[in-house]
Symmetry: C2
Subunit: 335 residues, 2 copies
Amino acid sequence: MTVKIAKSWHFNKRPKNMIESDTFVLKELPIPPLKDGEFLFKTIYLSLDATNRVWLSDWDIYMEPVHIGDPMRGFVFGQIIESRNPNFPVGRYAAGLHTWSDHIITNGDSFDLFPVLDGLDLAETFAILSVAGPTAHVGLHEIGGLKENETVVVSGAAGAVGTIVGQIAKIRGCRVIGIAGSDEKCAMIVNEFGYDAAINYKTEDVTEALGKLCPDGIDLCFENVGGDILDASLTHMKDFGRVVICGLISSYNSSEPVPGPYMFRNLIMRRLTVRGFVILDHADIMPDVLKELASWVANGKLKMPTHIVDGLEAAPNALNLLYTGGNTGKLLVKI
Amino acid sequence: MTVKIAKSWHFNKRPKNMIESDTFVLKELPIPPLKDGEFLFKTIYLSLDATNRVWLSDWDIYMEPVHIGDPMRGFVFGQIIESRNPNFPVGRYAAGLHTWSDHIITNGDSFDLFPVLDGLDLAETFAILSVAGPTAHVGLHEIGGLKENETVVVSGAAGAVGTIVGQIAKIRGCRVIGIAGSDEKCAMIVNEFGYDAAINYKTEDVTEALGKLCPDGIDLCFENVGGDILDASLTHMKDFGRVVICGLISSYNSSEPVPGPYMFRNLIMRRLTVRGFVILDHADIMPDVLKELASWVANGKLKMPTHIVDGLEAAPNALNLLYTGGNTGKLLVKI
């Protein structure tokens, strides 16, 4: 074994709000020899996702949380550098749900081999196909029941999931309005990702702006943020509209109870269907979803901006970017 | 024409919270002669429903609101006493959505003839078949997708809709827990309407009590109340559970914005589907719904307590009973 030591971040102390300097500690541990069925994985990119913060909370969440003392969990992309598992041969790329580590020994349970797509760099392929693309696809179709020619509103529109949601909704012939946190982000999603219009929630009254942009109401709201932003969309939903709750990032850093939307009564007034979802539940349809996403990537219909931070050491601070609007597109750590 | 004058309540001033003495004014107006296609309807019972208060708000609601100066809208049951409409012959009973009036002239647009069921008094028939029964049936089946052997939690369980929801869920073989506002109501829904257990929200910690009564979680929450009560149920929903938002009565009297549920995040954590509905949208399936409800009534599987207030004059004050928990079962005004 050429690599002797693996570095990984461990959960040290529950943060009250943002990630703090003592939330994680970096540990160096010796790498044991491979057993039959295992392989050694060298991490190339670590994906940072809004839901990472949820795993650190003391809420009753959708899966086992990360406990104090555990290595921090994350989606990783990398290369197999030693292997005693014939399904994961040396040299192939793979992606999986594992830990914030530069080297991983695993039997491959939560890993899949990863395609190399012509003309696309590995970061962008991973950014689209690992979490954000499937989340956008399943959220729009399986959960939201997207139909042609609908009016779709997306919050967190310049984020990883948001940029893909907009592009898929355009592929489906919809009118798409994005909500984002700066003029630069708004310009980007309109000029580069095909959004029909964008609202800067930091400088505009979102409720008023949505009223003007969606005079006939919203068919489908794809919600990544929650709070005031969700209230603005709820105000303008069409009768029998659908609201897909993908994320509620505005509340993930709060140690106080956060009220739900003040326009909750519109579930009745507009007869809405509001559904939350988690992409990990939809493994059964993932082959078809990935096939369609890859075809769109191949013919240039789907692209993804990446925001890449350097070095495993930078991961904890970088996670905070998701909650301050500091990233545009998919946030990755290059190991 | 034997009756010369009709009395009816008109909306006079928007209430801030509860209905006040000047919210409505009683007017006496001469009854014009019948035209071809019209009939004269003598109101016997006026139904008071939680949603009546919504019609008086300045919210953007699910139908045309009642405007200041308009006669107050309501569901009515009565008898045809003169007719120039062959579909509504003299002597027959009918029910419809019209006004808080003792006599009504109409072409029958929003009226249907009403069955007389053997062994059941007219008040109970009207109470079950006019609004509460269809609301409970459609909410459980069409909106909530009720399945056998599920755990169902019902708030406002001793109200008109709640008593029917519990009985239908029992007919479907479910376990049903009700939340109500007094020990008497709790005893009634368990002893008379088949609820498996009841929680008095005024004396018990509802979240804690639901945790004990539903250790494996709630499949379907039928919500009539909102606020803290809904939060308690959201806390204990099963993964992929469904929440039917039938009413949010705890917020209808508020002139201040009311926050949505604090456990809104559980839409994601438990991957919930939350749907609001209004019974008026479901006219297409009403014949089948009414047929099934009537068959249950006929074979004694479905009954309804009625709380009857005397005289059209009493209607405005009686409406407040719905928001103070002053009624048990269906609140009717006998004209």
